[in-house]
């Protein structure tokens, strides 16, 4: 300030000596300013030279994660992923020698012969497509051929490395990479945002389930089948298969029958498996005790129909025995006494009146009677007159024979058991039901002896029903199913198997019923998957196990003595 004011004052009048001094001081000021400027520039330059890291940070590659998320199985194995592929095309005008080019290309593009390639690259166009999805490795091979006029365009495509395994669960995407079927469609928003999705499916278990069901279909010349393995505590679907299936990578070219998900969308009258729920209702409502006797001898007529049994009984049975020997007549009489209100209440609680909560677009809406009369009450008790999907039944059995808590099916891996707990049946009812289902497998009069696996205490129920055709039933076309829980003393998993239209075979003495078709395959599956699921074999003769599966079966014990083995 002082300097500046003095400078201004000196402009008006000054002696020569004074003027020199002023000029020198002005010069000094200019020098200082210049020095400051250069120092600033110098410092900045020096700083740039030394500290490049912060500069580099500004250019850190921001490679966007906008690729569609992967779908993983519960162990982290890749089920669906997005991979780069190359679209290969030729510009015929750039190709010098089409003959030679075709010959060279044919060595790499093995799915086309030389002649086809030649025709394509000699067309009068500037764009001749050669391959739609070429792996990066093959594309590199093509480039190495050094053929002029061959071009590639990189793009991303969805790949399903497991091909057929869980194809129905996965579904697929369209050319724009948007989910159009299966979990790809249901979880499209999540996947499109780049987030990975972990399913409840275990690929190893899935492979076993598929292999066993598939071989049983072949063995009985059946037209299809389905299988489900579900965790009772969490409701997670560990494996789910619908056959015939298809390669998920070629979903666009697959026939409807193969694409149809029998496990989640197919509606079937699943027959006697419904007796499990019927018996649970009888006990839970307090109207019946398991020891109450039921008339299975006298003729049961409802309207024009007579309800009859596959094997007519010689003596009356108690409620438990009705389930074990699978008596239609007995079940119908029980349901008749329960009435429509109780039956509807429990079927509704078990989720039979709506689609399942599964994370798929392909879900079947059950077909229930519009008029719920006496005939309907009776037929529903043994699984006729109501069509549901296999997932409906599997979850309902998980509820009924598990702990009585409502089980909601899910395809997404859960970190903990479901929070909402609806107690449909008491644990006591569920335990009694399991003891009865165990006898279906272990008692000689049970229908599912072929499902027994030493040590895993399989408890189940078979169901054989004739398929609906036109106005009636087709006596030659059966749906055979078997639904089971294991181990019976402490149920962990439900296994459902269904074989569609099996034909009687020599090895099955011409039988094509559930006990011969669906039950044995379930036994084989359980034997293979139980160790993988961490279920340890136990000795059924241990006192506490025997105690937990106790039942009073007067009629069957009489017969059991005759069979000499129990």
């Amino acid at each position: 300030m002082n300097v500046l004011s003095r400078l201004i004052r000196l402009i008006s009048d000054m002696p020569a000596a004074e003027a020199r001094r002023v000029a020198a001081s002005r010069l000094g000021v200019v020098r200082i300013v210049a020095l400051c400027c250069f120092c600033a520039i110098g410092l900045r330059v020096g700083w740039l030279a030394i500290d490049l890291s912060s500069e580099a940070k500004a250019y850190t590659p921001t490679i966007k994660q906008s690729v569609r998320g992967d779908i993983l199985d519960r162990n982290g194995q890749v089920m669906a992923t997005t991979v780069p592929v190359f679209e290969l095309y030729a510009d015929p005008q750039e190709i010098l020698d089409p003959r030679e080019a075709a010959a060279k290309l044919a060595t790499v593009l093995t799915d086309m012969d030389e002649e086809t390639i030649y025709k394509r690259i000699t067309r009068d166009t500037r764009y001749a497509e050669l391959a739609w999805r070429l792996s990066p490795k093959k594309y590199a091979d093509v480039l190495r051929l050094g053929v002029a006029g061959i071009h590639g365009r990189r793009k991303l495509t969805r790949a399903y490395p497991n091909a057929t395994a869980a194809a129905h669960v996965l579904g697929g995407v369209n050319k724009d990479g948007q989910g159009i079927a299966g979990i790809e469609h249901h979880q499209n928003t999540l996947l499109a945002s780049g987030t990975d999705l972990t399913l409840s499916i275990d690929l190893n278990i899935q492979a076993i389930l598929r292999e066993e069901i598939s071989s049983q279909i072949d063995l009985f010349e059946a037209i299809g089948g389905a299988g489900i393995i579900q965790d009772i505590e969490t409701g997670e679907i560990i494996a789910m298969v619908s056959l015939p299936d298809y390669n998920a990578n070629h979903m666009g070219y697959i026939a409807d029958d193969h694409r149809f998900n029998r496990a989640t969308k197919g509606l079937y009258e699943l027959g006697s498996t419904f007796k499990v729920m019927n018996t649970a209702m009888a006990l839970e409502s307090g109207i019946f005790a398991e020891t109450d006797m039921i008339d299975v001898i006298s003729t049961l007529r409802v309207g024009r129909h007579i309800i009859d049994d596959y094997h007519p009984e010689k003596a009356n049975l108690n409620v438990a025995e009705v389930l074990i020997v699978s008596s239609n007549k007995g079940s119908a009489r029980i349901a008749d006494k329960l009435g429509a209100d109780i039956q509807k209440h429990f079927l509704n609680e078990l989720g039979f009146f709506e689609k399942t909560a599964l994370e798929l677009p392909e879900l079947g809406m059950p077909l229930i009677p519009s008029r719920w009369g006496r005939a309907e009450i009776m037929t529903i008790s043994y699984g006729h007159g109501i069509s549901v999907t296999p997932v409906h039944l599997t979850s309902a059995i998980a509820t009924t024979a598990g702990s009585g808590l409502l089980v909601t099916p899910t395809l997404i891996k859960q970190s903990q058991p479901a929070e909402i707990n609806v107690q449909v049946f008491s644990p006591q009812t569920a335990a009694k039901i399991r003891a009865m289902m165990r006898r279906v497998v272990s008692h000689p009069r049970g229908t599912a002896n072929k499902a027994d696996v030493n040590g895993y205490l399989v408890a189940g129920k078979t169901g054989t029903s004739e398929k609906i055709s036109g106005n009636g039933y087709d006596t030659k076309a059966n749906i055979t199913s078997f639904v089971s829980v294991f181990p019976a003393n402490d149920p962990k998993y439900v296994v459902f198997t269904m074989i569609d239209e099996p034909k009687g075979q020599k090895h099955s003495y011409n039988f094509a019923t559930a006990g011969w078709v669906a039950a044995p395959v379930a036994g084989r599956i359980i034997k293979r998957v139980a160790p993988m699921l961490g279920v340890h074999p136990i000795d059924e003769n241990m006192p506490e196990i025997r105690q937990s599966l106790m039942l009073n079966l007067p009629e069957l014990e009489k017969e059991g003595a005759k069979h000499a083995s129990f």
Partner: protein, 113 residues
């Protein structure tokens, strides 16, 4: 009163002259780093591509049905039978039956008492 000597002026001028190339060189260095960065970015993207392809290929090669086929062909193993599994705390209950003379047969019939 500050008066700069001739020497100081010369030094300052020299510094100024030297600063010019320094700035220029820094600019060049920055450009090199930038292009290196682009290369690295590209190679990251490429590596990422290969990782996804390799992951997919690994999933394809390790798919359970293939492993099953291979193990049937090359390994002498079969699925576990329930009687081959016992809880750890019952290991001490295993005894070897004395009756069989054939060692292999005896090995097959280890039992839980």
């Amino acid at each position: 009163m500050i008066v700069f000597s001739l020497r100081a002026t010369i030094i300052l001028t020299l510094i100024t002259i030297m600063l010019g190339p320094l700035v220029y060189l820094s600019g060049i260095r920055k450009d090199t780093h930038e292009s290196e960065l682009l290369q690295i970015e590209a190679s990251i993207a490429e590596t990422r591509d290969s990782i996804t392809v390799l992951k997919a290929e690994w999933a394809y090669l390790s798919r359970p049905d293939r492993i099953l086929q291979l193990s049937e062909r090359f390994l002498d193993v079969k699925p576990l039978d329930p009687h081959q599994i016992i809880p750890v705390n019952e290991l001490n209950k295993i005894t070897k039956p004395q009756t069989s003379n054939n060692i292999e047969e005896a090995n097959l019939t280890w039992r839980i008492e």
